[in-house]
C-alpha cells in the first residue's frame, strides 16, 4: 500500500471516532479530549568538522566557504563517517537512557530540493543508532516521556530567497556552509499531553544535550529545531485521532503557543462534529496561528534505501564501554552532588545545573577554595541578575571564576563591604577587570579609621535627633536608619560593623 493510501486510512479512523460517539447519542465535550503530542527534535552536534567530510562546521562564516566536493554533492565524491559525531550521538543516546544499537545503518532519504545537493539526505531509517530511551520531566506531577529513537543524519544547506518570500522571489541564493553538518534526530513517543509538558520536555532535552557537550542547542542559530505531531484523543481511548504535523517552531515559546492553538482548533472541530484533517501545518509567528502548508497533493515518498556508499556502522562493546566510562556527568547527577555534598539548596542547584557553562563556572570557583554556598548565592543573585538584565546567556559569562572568588575574598577580609562589592561586580562584568585592581584604582577600600568614623557618626546624630530618641525608646529599626545615613555619607565605604559599634557607644 502506498504512503498516500496509508494516510487516508488513518484519516478515516479519525472520522469513525466521532461518528461512533454520535451514534451512541452523546455529544463530544472539550473535557473528553486529551492532547497527544510527539516531538521530533533535531540538534546539531558540536563537532569541528561535518558529518561526512572534513569541512568546518563554524557558524557565521561567509557563504559557501566551508565546502568541498563531498558536501557540495559533486559527481564522484563519497561520504566518510565522522567518528566524533558518532561518539557525541552515542553520548546523547546514553544520556537519554536509550539502548545503543551496536549495528546501525545509514540510509538515503530521496527528495529534490535546491539546498539538498545530492538529491538525497543521508540519514538513518530502519536501523537507527539508538532506541527506547526516556526523559523525566518535573511536572508536577513528574512524568516519564519515552524516546522512540535517536539517529544520525546530515543537515541541508540554506536557501535565501530574494525578498524573503519563496513564492514571489525572483531568485534564490544557496549557502552550503551548513550543508552536511552532523545532526541527531530525537523522536519522542506521543507521551506529551500538554503544552507545558512539551516545554518541560524540550527544556530537559536542551539541558542534557548542552550539559553533556553534545550540542550547543541554540534555537536562534538553528542548532536545535523542533517539529511536532499533534492529535487529540478521547479520554480513555487508545487510538488518537488524525495526526497534524506542525512545523516552523523556532522557539520554545512557539512550541507552547502552537500546541495550545492546535488543541483549541482541533477540539473546536471535533466538538462541532467535524473531522480533523491529516495534514502539515506551519506556525505563523506574527499571527500566532497555524496555517496549512501548501504541499503537493500526494504525500511525499522518500524511497529510503540503505546507502550503498556506507557500510553498516558497527560499534564494538569495548568502544561503547569506553564512551560510558568517559561520559561527562549528567545534570541530574551534578545537581545531586551540589545538594548532598556541597549543601546547596535544591532550587539553586537546579539553576546551577541548567547549563554546562554555568555549572563549570561554579565548579571552578569551588575548586579555587570559595565557600560553595556563598559563591552560589553570588552567582545566582548578582551575576545572573546582571546577565539577565543585559540579555547574556550562560555561554557569555562576563567575568572569570578567578575574579569572582577574589571579590568574595575581599569582602571576607574586610577590604570592601558587601554593598560596594555589588557595584564592583558590575564594573568587573562591564570591563572584564580584576576586582583588586578596581578597588585599588578607585579607592573603594572600606573606611575603618575609627576617629574619622566617630566624626561622621557625630554629624549624623546631630542631624537626626528624632531617630536617636526612637532608639532610646527601644525602637531598633531606627538603628539601621542611622547606619544607613553613615554609609551614605561615606559613599558606602564605611565598615558597617564598626559604625554599629560606634553608634551604640555614643548613645549609651
Amino acid at each position: 500500500m502506498s504512503a498516500g493510501a496509508k494516510s487516508e486510512r488513518v484519516g478515516l479512523e479519525g472520522v469513525r471516532l466521532v461518528s461512533e460517539k454520535e451514534a451512541a447519542g452523546g455529544r463530544l465535550a472539550r473535557e473528553d479530549l486529551e492532547l497527544v503530542v510527539g516531538l521530533e527534535v533535531h540538534a546539531e552536534l558540536l563537532t569541528r568538522s561535518k558529518m561526512f567530510c572534513r569541512c568546518s562546521t563554524r557558524f557565521g562564516d561567509p557563504p559557501n566557504t566551508n565546502v568541498c566536493p563531498v558536501c557540495l554533492g559533486l559527481p564522484g565524491a563519497l561520504p566518510v563517517v565522522n567518528r566524533e559525531a558518532v561518539r557525541l550521538a552515542v553520548i546523547a543516546a546514553l544520556a537519554l537512557n536509550c539502548r545503543v544499537n551496536l549495528r546501525s545503518r545509514f540510509a538515503r532519504k530521496n527528495y529534490f530540493y535546491p539546498d539538498l545537493p545530492k538529491g538525497y539526505q543521508i540519514s538513518q531509517y530502519d536501523e537507527p543508532l539508538a532506541v527506547n530511551g526516556c526523559v523525566m520531566i518535573p511536572g508536577p506531577p513528574p512524568k516519564k516521556i519515552r524516546i522512540r529513537r535517536l539517529h544520525l543524519e546530515e543537515d541541508a544547506g540554506k536557501s535565501i530567497h530574494e525578498g524573503d518570500d519563496v513564492t514571489r522571489a525572483a531568485y534564490s541564493l544557496l549557502d552550503f556552509n551548513r550543508c552536511g553538518a552532523p545532526l541527531i534526530e530525537i523522536v519522542s513517543e506521543p507521551d506529551i499531553s500538554s503544552p507545558e509538558e512539551a516545554r518541560q520536555y524540550l527544556e530537559e532535552l536542551r539541558r542534557i544535550l548542552e550539559f553533556t557537550g553534545v550540542s550547543d542547542v541554540k534555537m536562534e542559530e538553528g542548532s536545535m529545531r523542533v517539529d511536532s505531531n499533534v492529535s487529540l484523543r478521547r479520554l480513555g481511548q487508545e487510538q488518537p485521532g488524525a495526526l497534524v504535523e506542525v512545523k516552523n517552531l523556532n522557539s520554545f515559546r512557539a512550541v507552547v503557543r502552537a500546541l495550545a492553538y492546535e488543541k483549541d482548533r482541533q477540539s473546536r472541530i471535533l466538538t462541532a462534529g467535524g473531522t480533523v484533517r491529516r495534514e502539515t501545518r506551519g506556525w505563523d509567528e506574527s499571527l500566532e496561528i497555524t496555517v496549512p502548508l501548501r504541499l503537493k497533493e500526494t504525500s511525499e515518498d522518500y524511497r529510503y534505501f540503505p546507502d550503498p556508499d556506507l557500510p553498516p556502522l558497527i560499534l564494538s562493546e569495548e568502544w561503547l564501554e569506553s564512551v560510558k566510562r568517559e561520559m561527562p556527568p549528567l545534570p541530574e547527577e551534578k545537581k545531586r552532588y551540589y545538594v548532598d555534598v556541597l549543601g546547596i539548596p535544591a532550587y539553586d542547584a537546579s539553576i546551577l545545573t541548567s547549563s554546562r557553562k554555568l555549572s563549570r563556572f561554579f565548579d571552578e570557583c569551588v575548586s579555587r577554595g570559595a565557600d560553595p554556598k556563598a559563591i552560589s548565592n553570588w552567582i545566582l543573585s548578582e551575576l545572573l541578575g546582571y546577565m539577565n538584565s543585559r540579555g547574556l546567556g550562560p555561554d557569555a559569562i562576563p567575568t572569570s571564576p578567578e575574579f569572582l572568588v577574589k571579590l568574595i575574598r575581599l569582602i571576607d577580609i574586610g577590604v570592601i563591604s558587601g554593598r560596594i562589592a555589588k557595584d564592583i561586580l558590575v564594573k568587573m562584568c562591564e570591563t572584564g577587570r580584576d576586582p583588586e585592581e578596581i578597588v585599588r584604582e578607585e579607592g573603594l577600600q572600606q573606611v575603618t579609621d575609627r576617629a574619622f568614623l566617630e566624626h561622621v557618626v557625630d554629624e549624623v546624630i546631630a542631624e537626626n535627633l528624632s531617630a536617636v530618641e526612637a532608639i532610646k525608646k527601644g525602637r531598633s529599626k531606627a538603628m539601621g536608619f542611622l547606619v544607613g545615613q553613615v554609609m551614605k555619607k561615606t559613599g558606602g565605604k564605611a565598615n558597617p560593623e564598626l559604625v554599629n559599634i560606634i553608634i551604640k557607644s555614643k548613645l549609651e
Binding site: M1, S2, A3, A5, K6, P69, L72, G73, L74, P75, G76, A77, L78, P79, V80, V81, R108, N110, F112, P114, P117, K118, G119, Y120, L174, D301, R303, Y304, F305, P308, D309, L310, P311
Partner: protein, 528 residues
C-alpha cells in the same frame, strides 16, 4: 615491421625501453598521439585528447629520468581514462549532455595514484551515458566503433577505453565495471580487462552509477600490462568507506607463479544463457588449453545465477535513480531555462538520454513505497543467495571459467531498439558484480563463424575476438591474474598476430566503405 612501431608495443615493453634509455617518454607519447590522429576519425574512442598536457608531462618524466630520479611504476606510459573518472581541470562528461561542459575540480583517487606513479593521462574516453549500456551507443557525445570491424560496436560501457587500447591509440586505459563494462568491451575488442574485487580499488572520483556494484578496472593488451595498472591503483582509500584495507600484493610479481594444479569450475548455467555456437566452440578450445597447462577442470553449478540479470536490473537502477538525483541543474552541469523550480528540474532532466531515463524510472519505481519489498528487498535477498552460490563454489574451486559474453561484437544499431537484447550482453558478467568478485576477461581466440547481424554476411573478412572470463575469490586477484597470464601466454602468438594485422589494416582502411554510418555523428539510440 609494424610491431616495431612504439604505438604497437605493450606497456611493459615500452617501460623497459624507457628505463634502458632507448626511448624517451616524449617519444612514446608522441607516437601514441600520432596514432590517435591517424585512426581516431575511424574509431572515435576519445571525447578529449590532452595533447599539450600529455607532452608537457612526458618532458617532465624525461627530466626526472635524466637527473637519475625514479619517475614511478608507470613512468612515461600514456593512459586513457574513461570519462566518468575525474581528472582535475578536465571535462568529465560521463558521455552525457548533462555534464558536457562540467570540468572536474579534483582528481579521482585512481588518477592521483596514476600521476604519482608517473603515468601520463592523454585522453578521456567515450562511454555509454553514465555507464549505462553495453555498446557505447548510449553516449550523447560521440560514436565509437570496434576497430576489428568498424560496422560493429566496441562493447560498453567502457567502449572508448577498450577500442583505444585495441586500436593501439594507448597502451593502457581505465574503465569502470558495474555489470561487465570493463570485461565485455575487452572481450569485444580482443584485449584484456579486469574487474577487481569490490573494495580493492577506490571509487572516490568515479561518477557513481550503482555504488554497490561499480568498480574501476584496467584495460590493456595483455595480463602483464593489466597488472602494471593494478599495482598502481589498488589499495585502501580513506575517502572511500567501501574500500578495503587489507594489504595489496604485487600483481606483476604474482605472474611468475604457475597455473598448474589450480582447480577450475565451469558453471553449467553459463553455457545455456544464449551463448552462440562460435563462442561456445572457442570456449571449449580454451578449456583444452587450460587442461594442457595443468589446470583441473570440472563442471559445476551456480543455480542462482539464472536470476542474476533480473536481480541486477533492480538493484543497479535503484541505486542509479538516487545517484543521478544530483544532476538537477542547481549547482553544476546543464541547466535548462525555466520559470520556477519544478519546471527547471523537469526541463533540465529531460536532457538525460532514453536509456538513463528508463533506468531512473525503473529505479524510482522499485524503491517506491509499496513496491520496495517486492522488488528491491527481494533483489537484495537474491543477491545474497548468489553470493552464497559463489562462496560454496569457491570452497571447491580456485577459479571459475566461462565465456565473457554470449556473443561476439554485434553490429551498430542492431540492439538499440530492443533494450532486453542489449541487457543480455551482460548476462555472464553481472554475477561477479553482484557478488563483488574479481573477474578477468582475457582474449581466447576468434569466432569461426561470424555472428552476422541482420545484414551481416561475414564479408568483413575478419574473425571477431572472443573473451574468456576467469572469476576468483574475493581479493584473490593474484590467482585470477596468474591463471589468465598462463593461459594468455599459450594463445598469445595467434591472438597477437591477428591484433597486429588488424591494427595495421586499421591504419590503411578508408572509413567510407567500412563504416556505413560514418556520416552519423551519434549512435542511433540517441535519435529517439
Amino acid at each position: 615491421m609494424s610491431g616495431g612501431a612504439l604505438w604497437n608495443m605493450k606497456a611493459s615493453a615500452l617501460l623497459e625501453l624507457m628505463m634502458a634509455g632507448e626511448v624517451s617518454a616524449t617519444e612514446v607519447v608522441e607516437a601514441f598521439l600520432d596514432r590517435i590522429s591517424e585512426v581516431e576519425p575511424k574509431v572515435g574512442a576519445f571525447l578529449e585528447v590532452m595533447r599539450d598536457e600529455g607532452l608537457a608531462q612526458a618532458r617532465r618524466i624525461d627530466e626526472l629520468r635524466q637527473s637519475g630520479e625514479y619517475p614511478g611504476l608507470l613512468g612515461g606510459l600514456p593512459v586513457a581514462v574513461k570519462d566518468n573518472i575525474c581528472v582535475a581541470g578536465t571535462r568529465c562528461t560521463c558521455g552525457s549532455k548533462m555534464l558536457a561542459n562540467w570540468v572536474a575540480p579534483y582528481d579521482a583517487t585512481v588518477v592521483k595514484a596514476l600521476k604519482a606513479q608517473g603515468a601520463i593521462i592523454i585522453g578521456k574516453t567515450n562511454m555509454d551515458e553514465f555507464a549505462m549500456g553495453s555498446s557505447t551507443e548510449n553516449s550523447a557525445l560521440g560514436l565509437t566503433r570496434n576497430p576489428w570491424d568498424l560496422r560493429r560496436v566496441p562493447g560498453g560501457s567502457s567502449g572508448g577505453s577498450a577500442a583505444a587500447v585495441a586500436a593501439g591509440q594507448v597502451p593502457l586505459a581505465l574503465g569502470s565495471d558495474t555489470g561487465g563494462s570493463v570485461r565485455q568491451p575487452a572481450a569485444f575488442t580482443g584485449i584484456t580487462g579486469l574487474k577487481p574485487t569490490y573494495g580493492r580499488v577506490s571509487r572516490y572520483g568515479l561518477v557513481a552509477f550503482a555504488s554497490s556494484l561499480d568498480q574501476i578496472g584496467p584495460l590493456a593488451a595483455d595480463v602483464r600490462d593489466v597488472c602494471l595498472l593494478m599495482d598502481a591503483i589498488s589499495g585502501f582509500d580513506e575517502r572511500d568507506s567501501t574500500s578495503d584495507n587489507r594489504p595489496v600484493p604485487s600483481y606483476t610479481r604474482a605472474l611468475s607463479k604457475s597455473a598448474k594444479g589450480l582447480k577450475a569450475g565451469v558453471p553449467r548455467e553459463c553455457l545455456t544463457q544464449g551463448v552462440s555456437r562460435g563462442v561456445k566452440e572457442c570456449f571449449e578450445r580454451a578449456l583444452e588449453v587450460m587442461e594442457d597447462l595443468g589446470v583441473e577442470i570440472e563442471e559445476t553449478s551456480l543455480p542462482m545465477i539464472r536470476y542474476a540479470l533480473d536481480c541486477y536490473y533492480i538493484i543497479a537502477p535503484a541505486e542509479a535513480s538516487s545517484n543521478l538525483s544530483r544532476f538537477d541543474g542547481v549547482r553544476y552541469g546543464l541547466r535548462a531555462e525555466a520559470n520556477g523550480l519544478e519546471e527547471m528540474y523537469v526541463r533540465t532532466r529531460r536532457n538525460f538520454g532514453p536509456e538513463v531515463r528508463r533506468r531512473i524510472m525503473l529505479g524510482t519505481f522499485v524503491l517506491s513505497a509499496g513496491y520496495y519489498d517486492a522488488y528491491y528487498l527481494r533483489a537484495a535477498k537474491v543477491r545474497t543467495l548468489i553470493r552464497r552460490d559463489f562462496k560454496r563454489a569457491f570452497e571447491e574451486f580456485d577459479i571459475l571459467l566461462s565465456p565473457t559474453t554470449p556473443t561476439t561484437a554485434f553490429l551498430l544499431g542492431e540492439r538499440t531498439q530492443d533494450p532486453l537484447s542489449m541487457y543480455m550482453a551482460d548476462v555472464l558478467t553481472v554475477p561477479a558484480n553482484l557478488a563483488g568478485l574479481p573477474a578477468l576477461s582475457v582474449p581466447c581466440g576468434f569466432e569461426e563463424d561470424s555472428n552476422s547481424g541482420e545484414d551481416g554476411d561475414g564479408d568483413s573478412g575478419r574473425r571477431l575476438p572472443v573473451g574468456l572470463q576467469i572469476t576468483g575469490r574475493p581479493f584473490d586477484e593474484e590467482t585470477v591474474l596468474c591463471a589468465g597470464h598462463a593461459f594468455y601466454q599459450a594463445v598469445a602468438p595467434a591472438v597477437e598476430a591477428e591484433l597486429a594485422r588488424m591494427r595495421k589494416d586499421l591504419g590503411k582502411e578508408s572509413c567510407g566503405s567500412a563504416c556505413p554510418q560514418a556520416q552519423s555523428p551519434k549512435g542511433s539510440a540517441w535519435k529517439e
